[in-house]
Amino acid sequence: MGRITAPFGPQHPVLPEPLHLNITYEDEKVVGLSPAIGYVHRGLEKTAEKKEYPENVFLVERVCGICSFMHAMTYCMGIEELMGIEIPPRAQYLRVFYSEISRLHSHLLWLGLFADAFGFENLFMQYWAAREKILDLMELTGGQRVILSSCAIGGIRRDLNAEQIDTAQGVLMQTEEELKRINPVMLNAYTVKQRTVGKGMLSREDALLYGAVGPMLRASGVAQDLRQTGYAAYRELGFAPVVETDGDSYARALVRVRETCQSIELARKALERLPEGEAAVKVKGNPDGETMQRVEQPRGELLYYIKGNGSKNLERLRIRTPTFANIPSLLKMLPGCEMADVPVIVLSIDPCISCTER
């Protein structure tokens, strides 16, 4: 049987962003692949050396439009540690609130795209309609729909007032009700299961060998979520990771569906228990030394390495994003599958190329 190698992406109808894979087929079966990312690499780590460290908050927010708040938060956590800054409890709870609504809108975005990947257009529209309300909530509280610029070194730049908190609680309750109606379709529909159950298998052992993170790792039975470490106010709010064991595309969807409900619960709890007081402290001085910070993004573990030298400019900023860690797993998940399943399996890792090509 002859073999052909054909590019999948960087432009492909199923891809929201330009991921490029060179896939080798034998008849219609995948027998090998080589990732060739780099289509939109921006060199932001290098740019960060040229900016002053407070300006980098705005720079790292632009690593990714979907989880921009979490990039800013991780960077701020690193700088705060280097400078010995303790942020107010109110800021810790607000960081949880913004992180969880970011995760919620990211998962709703992905669930819609996933439905679209196997042609379930109605489900795609339902998820995106639900997501729209969360984007409106982000605009109401942060002033923008995507790039919030709410996080600052020392806390949160824009505090919430009582009216905003009430509205946010209402929107979250309403979204919870919406998802009770939509989620069973994703989880129980015959067509969804036909396209996802048993597709793109990744065992627990392979997930660790290939360095998978986030919902990819948890769908393969590994109970790891960095929120368990208790950063921001997660320790006070209580948290247990969502874990599934089947390791297929359906299990990965199931983890994300369950995490949408968990995010609503955490965001609501953070608002209910929001401490009184200031939302930020003043910052003086420059960072010195080196630190590593990790947080749980919607797609998994995000790592920032920051090295300061006592001046306003950093010596090195290194960002390891979750999709960068999840791409190697495709080398295990795709070989052996049918050509028709490639788009669904690739999408099941929730690829964010904006993050990957920071």
Binding site: S34, P35, A36, I37, G38, H41, G43, E45, K46, E49, K50, E52, P54, E81, L208, L209, Y210, G211, Q224, L226, Q228, T229, K282, V283, K284, G285, N286, G289, E290, T291, M292, Q293, R294, E301, L303, Y305, K307, N309, G310, S311, K312, N313, E315, R316, R318, R320, F324, A325, I327, P328, S329, L331, K332, E357
Partner: protein
């Protein structure tokens, strides 16, 4: 968290990584940092949500061994370090040939020190 590292040699890095793998640890990242004439590589492993770091230092022109024989996922990280810092790596299981990010005619090793901007004068903010 502050970065606590265990220093080891390039020759011993594969055996050290194998111990982490045997313990069920996950390879999180490898971070390349320029330190004068040398390149410092920090390998980060996750052990039950705690981060442990191994560190090696090497002259740029001297190749270091690849971890892809232990951790299959290391190929992407190592290709990135090779391309952006000019770090030579022996035994890469999937070598992307310096064309992961860079295109033909691009300046090699764009993250290396010759591209580093001069730090501005120290000032206070507040």
């Amino acid at each position: 968290m502050k970065v606590d590292t265990i220093k080891t040699s390039p020759e011993a890095i594969v055996a050290s990584a194998q111990k982490y793998f045997d313990d069920g640890c996950r390879l999180v990242a490898a971070t390349c940092v320029e330190e004068g004439e040398e390149l410092r590589v920090i390998y980060s492993f996750d052990r039950e949500l705690s981060l442990e770091n191994l560190e090696i230092s090497t002259p740029r022109e001297k190749a270091i061994p690849s971890l892809t024989g232990v951790y299959a996922c290391a190929f992407l990280i190592e290709n990135e370090m090779k391309e952006l810092f000019g770090l030579e790596i022996d035994g890469l299981s999937l070598d992307l040939g310096g064309r992961m990010y860079l295109v033909d005619g691009a300046e090699p090793a764009p993250m290396a020190d010759h591209n580093k901007p001069k730090a501005k004068e120290d000032e206070k903010i507040g």
